[in-house]
């Protein structure tokens, strides 16, 4: 460990920080570092491969002799599988293997898998699927949250199945699972928040509801599985190559060294692609039985019903403040519906994380007979922000205070205060914001603002290997996947920076568990985990190459510099060798170094965040909301590549607009099935629905790791829906506390306003 002083902070507000840097690590980049490649607008190095179709996704994999598989799914939301007869399906010419659950299996949602067929083509497999004869005994079910938590509701899980399910005194509330009951600021008792609320000058209370959003990634879930003896090779659309490897090794009881998972390119994840999934497991069973590779890609309907979703929530929020706007208490009670899953999101997190206040957070799951929830881009936060940031605006109204002033007074993080100021200065519409009473006509504009936070997480076991061949070629290897954020590019930029080479000289291989271990792409930590490992490894490579150069030049190590691909003696610039010349003296095929991601050390901030301002236009006759512009100010430590970072922010905002206005899984309460499991009536924002997006990246020199990097995958989608909701309230003078904000809700709200 070495103590190193670095400069951290942002925009002139910098300070000194002493960090303890592990042995062998380079000096961290800080506010004073002048970088050549990192921080530049470098286009994605795989852009050409993607737009020319050269990039191969799991969907594109075609192996010799490969079969295609389809899955049969339970049509009932709750049932027992009485019998399943695969004989007619098996007899279809071209069918090579079948799989089925054993009779007696309890089915807990419509869409649960119970049988599968592998055949020479998808068409044959689909035809065979229709010939499966399955008998189900229907059982009572519940898909609605209010019904599920009512006394006497059908139990989604038998008691024995899920021991954690809590019963109330009458033993009737089968489906409510209380977890994460209380989270308090340090040293505070549960009663203190109640007392603080009682002592507040003003208490605002409101209840908010959010819908189920499905991930709807462009590339569906799916795998291609091949057995070679007891070696398993799996191409899969995943956010966690190594996670899938470990899961399959455990399931099939083989050493993980005998499982290889590949994901060269993947078409979107958003949090639902961490596990091997039943598709990989079924494909592996079928492939073993058929003695042939099997491809199992799910269809759009399956994507909606059984691969995960953002859970719906009901959040009751109580906010207490002094007359001067000082927050005293935040009390969040939320129920979320994870379907047959669990963990319906840390919806209380924004109430804990954004503002200084005593707080109490209660989060409960209400299980129902519907497809399981999964983590989804900033789990819990868009929901929690939708509630909190609207409640803050409402509180500001009650206090007759400017919503910006109220937030400024209470924000925890000085970076976020600066972002708030920047957002307000940047969004012209904010300065001319009018109260709703001032608005006339059928199309009314409104402006709204919201804050959000996210975390600084990293996977510190990550390893990177860099090889320098004797012809000078540099290969950087890490087995993690790129879920679309530009991982290859930031790896290449980091290596190019440390090795003083042009980015074209760096060749990156990722997405393969035969390579050194990489992180799962969750919690916004892919770049945060890999980039410091790349730099640490490149630093070692640079040292070895410098030593080689010194020997060849007959110079001392500290006399040598490396710049623009050339080693030279500092006081005799003409004496030097190119990278290639030095590489030629490696004396072996290649020089190889393995480095790892060090533990995170002292940093300026432990959180990231953002502020967004939305401008909307509401047609008060027809109820339609259009988002005209979103100003999005976000920080992510050091901005590695503004092009990629802006792209992340835009994607997050668009997904947030879509969540705020359109997306909604509709389950028929009478039969318990999803009715809009397609991309026609499950509505996602199209180009015409996307606002102008002004991205303002807020560069923060943060320490913490050798690159000062923090992820940006999730934060940009957190405040969008809340900002839009606040803008709608500003436009029409009535608040909509339920997502999505569709014309029927707008018209109902306006009608209610006129009545009152």
């Amino acid at each position: 460990m070495a103590d190193i002083n670095i400069t951290v902070g942002f925009e002139g507000q910098t300070e000194a920080l002493t960090v303890q840097v592990p042995e062998g690590e380079p000096r961290p980049w800080d506010a004073k570092s002048q970088l050549a490649c990192v921080g530049q607008r470098v286009p994605r190095i795989d852009a050409r491969a993607k737009v020319t179709g050269q990039a191969k996704y799991t969907y594109d994999i075609a192996l010799p002799g490969m079969l295609e598989a389809c899955v049969a799914r339970c049509p009932l939301p709750s049932a027992r599988l009485r019998s399943v007869d695969m004989s007619r399906a098996r007899a279809v010419p071209g069918v090579k293997a079948v799989w089925a659950e054993k009779p007696g299996k309890r089915m807990v949602f419509a869409g649960q898998e119970f049988a599968a067929v592998a055949a020479v083509s998808k068409d044959v497999a689909e035809d065979a699927l229709r010939l499966i004869k399955a008998d189900f005994t229907p059982l009572p079910f519940v898909v609605d949250m209010d019904k599920a938590r009512a006394p006497g509701a059908p139990a989604v899980y038998p008691r024995s199945f899920k021991s954690a399910v809590e019963a109330d005194d009458n033993g009737l509330r089968h489906n409510v699972l209380k977890h994460n009951t209380v989270t308090l600021a340090e040293g505070e008792s549960a009663h203190e928040v109640e007392r603080a609320l009682a002592e507040s000058d003003i208490v605002h209370e409101a209840t908010f509801r959010t819908q189920v959003q499905t991930h709807a990634a462009l590339e569906p879930h799916g795998s291609v599985v091949r057995w070679d003896g007891d070696h398993l090779t799996v191409w899969t659309s995943t956010q966690a190559t190594f996670g899938v490897r470990d899961q399959l090794a455990a399931l099939f009881d083989i050493p993980k060294a005998k499982v290889r998972v590949l994901c060269d390119y993947m078409g979107g994840g958003f949090g639902a692609k961490f596990s091997a999934g039943h598709w990989s497991v079924i494909a592996a069973h079928l492939a073993r039985d058929a003695r042939a590779p099997v491809k199992l890609m799910l269809g759009r309907h399956e994507e909606h019903v059984c691969t995960g979703n953002r859970p719906s929530t009901e959040i009751r929020l109580r906010v207490g403040a002094k007359h001067d706007g000082t927050l005293i208490a935040l009390y969040s009670q939320s129920f979320g519906v994870p379907g047959i899953g669990s963990g319906s999101g840390a919806t209380g997190a924004p109430a804990r994380e954004i503002y200084r206040s005593k707080h109490r957070v209660e989060e409960s799951d209400v299980v129902t007979n519907s497809g399981p929830a999964a983590s989804f881009r900033a789990p819990g936060h868009p929901q929690g922000c939708f509630a909190l940031e609207q409640a803050m605006d409402e509180l500001a109204e009650k206090l007759a205070m400017d919503p910006v002033a109220l937030r400024r007074k209470n924000l925890k993080n000085s970076v976020q205060v600066a972002e708030l100021d920047r957002a307000v200065a940047h969004a012209k519409a904010w300065s001319v914001r009018q109260p709703p009473e001032a608005k006339r006509g059928s199309k009314r504009r409104g402006v709204g603002l919201a804050c959000g936070v996210w975390y600084k997480w990293a996977s510190t076991g990550v390893q990177v290997q860099i090889d320098v061949y004797d012809d000078g070629r540099v290969e950087v290897w890490n087995g993690a996947q790129d879920i679309g954020t530009g991982t290859r590019t930031v790896i290449a930029q980091t290596a190019a920076e440390e090795l003083c080479l042009p980015i074209e000289a760096i060749h990156v291989r990722i997405g393969d568990t035969a390579l050194p271990i990489g992180p799962g792409s969750g919690g916004s930590m892919t770049a945060t985990s890999i980039v410091p490992a790349v730099r640490a490894t490149a630093y070692k490579v640079r040292a070895r190459m410098t030593a080689l150069a010194a020997r060849k030049l007959g110079a001392a190590l500290d006399e040598l510099e490396l710049a623009d691909g050339r080693f030279y003696v500092t006081n005799d610039i003409a004496r030097g060798l190119t990278w290639k010349q030095v590489a030629a003296s490696i004396g072996a095929d290649k020089l190889s170094e393995m480095g790892r991601r060090a533990e995170e050390y002292q940093s300026f901030r432990e959180r990231t965040g953002g502020v967004q301002i939305a401008e909307v236009e509401v047609d008060v006759d027809l109820g339609q909301v259009r988002v005209l512009r979103v100003t999005a100010v976000h920080d992510c430590g050091r901005v590695l590549n503004p092009l990629l970072a802006e792209s992340q922010v835009k994607g997050g905002v668009i997904q947030g607009v879509s969540y705020a206005l359109f997306e909604n899984r509709v389950l028929d309460g009478n039969v318990g099935r999803m009715v809009n499991a397609d991309l026609e009536s499950y509505k996602i924002a199209f180009a015409g629905d996307c606002p102008e997006i002004d991205v303002v990246l807020f560069d923060v020199s943060n320490g913490g790791n050798n690159a000062g990097v923090i992820g940006l995958g999730e934060s940009p989608t957190v405040p969008t829906a809340a900002a839009i909701a606040n803008a709608v309230a500003n436009a029409i003078g009535v608040r909509i506390r339920e997502l999505p904000i569709t014309p029927d809700r707008v018209l109902a709200a306006l009608r209610g306003q006129r009545r009152s």
């Binding site: 027809l622 359109f662 309460g669 099935r673 009715v675 026609e680 015409g688 629905d689 029927d744 009608r751």
Partner: protein, 328 residues
């Protein structure tokens, strides 16, 4: 998908004969709706008869007698035709409003009129609703946000054709033909059928029968027509509501009015109350609002579509004002 025979028709006779010979054949124009249904598996076709190859069926004729559209004129063709835009603006507006550019480039006018409903129960392979031989309309007491507020029962679909809304307002006539049978001309108002008459179908087409032409009379002097739609998304989306208004104006007085609501009922729905409220009146904002109120009289919303009542009320008022030259 089941295998099927693919027939390419080179003449109208061939097309009609091919359909007559094959009881389980379907005429295929753009194939947009048909392909969707084939993929879900509940529409089984033994043969698809491709009719976009029939010479002359893609013609748009505009003359002193009026407008004639061949059955395979595409929505894009119709929307982009300057003659149609000037004489039948609502029709061009509707053609340009439906679906998205990709679909409009292949979807045909006859296909648009004959497409099956978009009801999510009807479209889902998992629901055997009454229109597919089952016993229930799942929408009646189910998820019916997008369903009918007029003319419903026992099925509550809304008719999906955007063009039909305007063509009914324009009082168009449809030329129907089948092999060996007599060609007939049906006023479009008699073409669509309510579920209480026959809930398994949406129109009076006989097996093997095709729309072979659409006729619209030339507009009387002073005629104004407008089409407006309300959607959730700003572009490609099925409408929450559509309104076509055709007004015959003398000065600022309306001598005759046709007001038709789309996505309101299982057929294009004539708002006769609104028509009566406008005929013989000076068209101003008050008249437009009165027409809007009259248009939704007698609406019977279901559990989740009450919003359609104020929505149609204002959509009609907007369309009337726009037709009369006011601000929409």
């Amino acid at each position: 998908m089941r295998p099927f025979e693919y027939v390419i028709a080179r003449s109208s006779e061939q097309a009609l004969a091919a359909l007559a010979e094959r009881g389980d054949g379907f005429a295929k124009g753009g194939g947009v709706d048909l392909l969707d249904r084939l993929k879900t598996g509940w529409t089984g076709a033994g043969a698809l008869v491709h009719i976009r190859t029939v010479p002359g069926w893609d013609r748009i004729e505009v003359g002193p007698g009026g407008l004639w559209l061949g059955p395979t004129v595409t929505l894009a063709q119709l929307a982009g035709d300057v003659r149609v835009q000037s004489a039948y603006p609502a029709l061009a507006q509707a053609a340009g409003s439906a679906a998205n550019p990709h679909v409009r480039n292949v979807a045909t006018v006859a296909g648009n009129l004959c497409q099956r409903p978009r009801c999510w129960y009807f479209r889902s392979a998992e629901f055997t609703c009454m229109k597919k031989g089952g016993a229930t309309c799942f929408a009646a007491k189910g998820e019916n946000k997008y369903h009918a507020i007029f003319g419903g029962g026992p099925s509550y679909i809304v008719h999906p054709s955007t063009l039909a809304t305007v063509l009914v307002a324009e009082n168009a006539e449809l030329e129907l033909a089948r092999a060996g049978g007599r060609a007939r001309t049906v006023p479009i108002g008699e073409f669509f059928t309510l579920p209480r008459v026959d809930y398994e179908r949406e129109n009076v087409l006989q097996p093997g029968e095709l729309i072979v032409g659409i006729r619209v009379k030339a507009p009387a002097p002073g005629r104004k027509s407008v089409f407006v739609a309300a959607k959730e998304r700003n572009g490609y989306d099925w409408p929450l509501g559509e309104v076509a208004v055709v007004l015959d104006m003398r000065g600022d007085v309306c001598t005759a009015a046709r007001v038709v609501l789309g996505a309101a009922a299982p057929i294009p729905w004539r708002a006769q109350g609104a028509e009566a409220a406008l005929s013989g009146r000076r068209v101003d904002e008050l008249a437009a609002r009165t027409a809007g109120v009259a248009a939704v009289e007698g609406a019977l919303p279901l559990g989740q579509n009450e919003y359609k009542v104020p929505l149609f009320e204002r959509l009609v008022a907007r369309a009337v004002m726009a037709a009369a030259g006011g601000k929409a």
